[in-house]
């Protein structure tokens, strides 16, 4: 008999909690409300790329192993390693992240999440400067200006615009008509197509965002005239409008993206932008200006919270003798220095994501992969341990992009003999403790 359920999608960090599915005892029949990214997540259930048994790379190629043997193999590889790395953790539940931290503590590993090369850099500087982030509800109800800075929301988080820009909100019943949008990017992305006549499109020369931020800082303080020729490829008229928007809007939300994070200015652009946020908050008598980080993985924020509560540090944690010690390294520098002899990759694909030089070094040492789908890392991993899909085949807690915790439901049974990340990591920890 089919039934209708309201579930939370774990396709991206937006964690849409308004998805309706129609399912019977065995499978999902219909999915309503989810975007293509969400649908792809559900398609993983029966994908050809799904890993359905533990695999071990031998001289003769990949061999299927029994679970008991595979776990023993994993323990043996881990115990032989002196400097293991644990990386990924952004696509598993918070409960599993805690277990991964416990394993790292047990084996004196270096543990890091995808956040370290993504929003983590921004969050660290923001917390040092005392700037907090905002929530989706606040943006929906209060924001009258949304600034996308170097991010292409339409491609990365497809439903975010319909939630924050086109929704009406409690205090802003007219919705889109009263919400203005500024997009700063180096070329016209798909996100520019949602812009209306009142919105402001800023096309900036690459790596010159810092110049624009510095000039805006001077302008909002007053007594500053923009140069007639404009700056960084932006007209004077647009700069004037940008300043007017910043000073006249009540609730401003800035969504900084990867383009701003990966500037050659080595974090200075982030600091300048955060100083502009502080400055505007001091100048404005009503309303406030705040940030919303737009990471991609559905539980990247979760690891920040779990690691902070378990170790006092939100990312890049080095354990020694069962304690977290001070370390300035992150996953990239650790690989660059070849300061590792084993990597345990959980729910991510660094071989495809990292620069080629880094991937080459990573692939030169044994890899244990814990994931549910085949990837670039799968092709070179020594031992592969498959898991079920969190939010579909097993439940768990995840943090939405605005740091709101949301419980993911179990909808259907996983394939036979496939366990959740939590169950698998618990078994590894138990065997390590023996």
């Amino acid at each position: 008999m089919s039934e209708q359920l309201k579930i939370t999608c774990s396709g991206c960090s937006l964690l849409c909690d308004d998805i309706i599915i129609i399912k019977d005892d065995k499978e999902i029949k219909e999915i309503l409300g989810a975007c293509q990214k969400g649908i792809n997540k559900f398609n993983q259930i029966k994908s050809k790329n799904r890993i359905l048994s533990p695999l071990y790379k031998d001289k003769g190629g990949l061999k299927v192993l029994e679970w008991d043997l595979a776990l023993n193999k994993a323990i043996q590889i881990i115990k032989n390693a002196k400097k293991p790395l644990i990386y990924g953790l952004s696509t598993i539940s918070c409960e599993s992240q805690i277990l991964a931290l416990k394993i790292a503590k047990k084996i004196d590993a270096f543990i890091d999440s995808n956040s370290t090369i993504c929003q983590g850099k921004f969050l660290n500087i923001a917390s040092e400067m005392g700037i907090t982030t905002t929530t989706l509800t606040e943006i929906i109800n209060k924001s009258d200006l949304i600034i996308l800075w170097g991010t292409n929301i339409v491609e990365s988080i497809p439903r975010l615009f319909s939630k924050i820009l086109f929704s009406r909100g409690k205090f802003r019943m007219t919705g889109r008509e009263i919400k203005n949008l500024i997009i700063v990017d180096i070329y016209k992305t798909a996100s520019f197509k949602v812009m209306g006549t009142r919105d402001l499109a800023i096309i900036i020369r690459p790596n010159e965002d810092i110049e624009l931020i510095k000039i805006l800082k001077k302008a909002v303080k007053g007594d500053y005239t923009f140069p007639n020729e404009g700056i960084s490829g932006i007209d004077k008229q647009d700069l004037e409008r940008f300043k007017t928007f910043l000073l006249n809007s009540e609730h401003i939300t800035i969504l900084p993206g990867q383009a701003l994070l990966n500037q050659k200015t080595n974090g200075d652009a982030i600091k300048e932008l955060l100083e502009l946020v502080n400055l505007l908050n001091n100048i404005k008598n009503n309303g406030r200006i705040s940030l919303l980080m737009v990471g991609g993985h559905y539980n990247m924020v979760g690891f920040e919270h779990m690691a902070l509560s378990e170790t006092g540090k939100n990312q890049s944690i080095q354990f020694k003798n069962g304690e977290s010690i001070k370390s300035d390294d992150n996953i990239i520098s650790k690989i660059q220095k070849e300061d590792f002899d084993l990597s345990i990759i959980i729910g991510t694909d660094p071989i495809s994501h990292f620069p080629l030089e880094i991937s080459k070094i990573l692939s030169s040492k044994p890899i244990i992969l814990i994931d549910n789908k085949k990837s670039g890392t799968f092709l070179i991993a020594t031992l592969i341990l498959p898991t079920s899909i969190t939010g579909i085949e097993n439940k768990g807690l995840a943090f939405r992009l605005d740091h709101v915790p949301i419980q993911l439901k179990k909808i259907i049974e996983p394939p036979s003999l496939i366990q959740s990340d939590y169950e698998l990591l618990q078994k590894i920890l138990d065997r390590l403790n023996k």
Binding site: C16, K163, F166, S167, G175, K193
Partner: protein, 136 residues
């Protein structure tokens, strides 16, 4: 606006607009419009909303921004997907990651309680340009 809509639908002809014929200053515009419509003028046409499945990524902007959807599906006001089964007036919904047109009858471009409007918000804000309003 109402006249141009009627013209598009083929319910009236350009000649029905008297100022365009009476005043010589509109002569150029009259000829331009005549050239634009050519043989299509006066042919009865029907409103179609075409959704190109290949382009649509199910972002749901059309579902949220459609004024008819917003009037009848309360959850849309806060950016959430509409409830299921859909309301009888609901125009759009996202199914299997693609937008689906449910019922064109209640579109603001068509006669609804005598308040027909030149509404194009779904087409204007579609970031993928997957949605097109046409008269065929």
């Amino acid at each position: 606006m109402a006249f141009s809509l009627e013209l598009l639908k083929g319910n009236v002809k350009i000649e029905d607009c008297t100022p365009l014929l009476d005043d010589p200053k509109y002569q150029e515009k009259y000829l331009k419009l005549k050239d634009l419509l050519k043989s299509e003028e006066g042919k009865k046409k029907e409103l179609k909303i075409n959704i190109e499945n290949e382009l649509c990524d199910g972002c749901g902007i059309c579902v949220t921004i459609c004024p008819v959807n917003a009037r009848y599906c309360y959850s849309i006001l806060s950016g959430k997907a509409p409830d299921y089964p859909p309301d009888t007036h609901q125009l759009f919904m996202v199914k299997e990651g693609k937008c689906e047109l449910l019922n064109i009858k209640y579109c603001r471009r068509l006669e609804t309680e005598g308040k027909e409007r030149e509404c194009r918000v779904c087409e204007t804000y579609c970031p993928r340009e997957a949605l097109k309003i046409e008269y065929i």
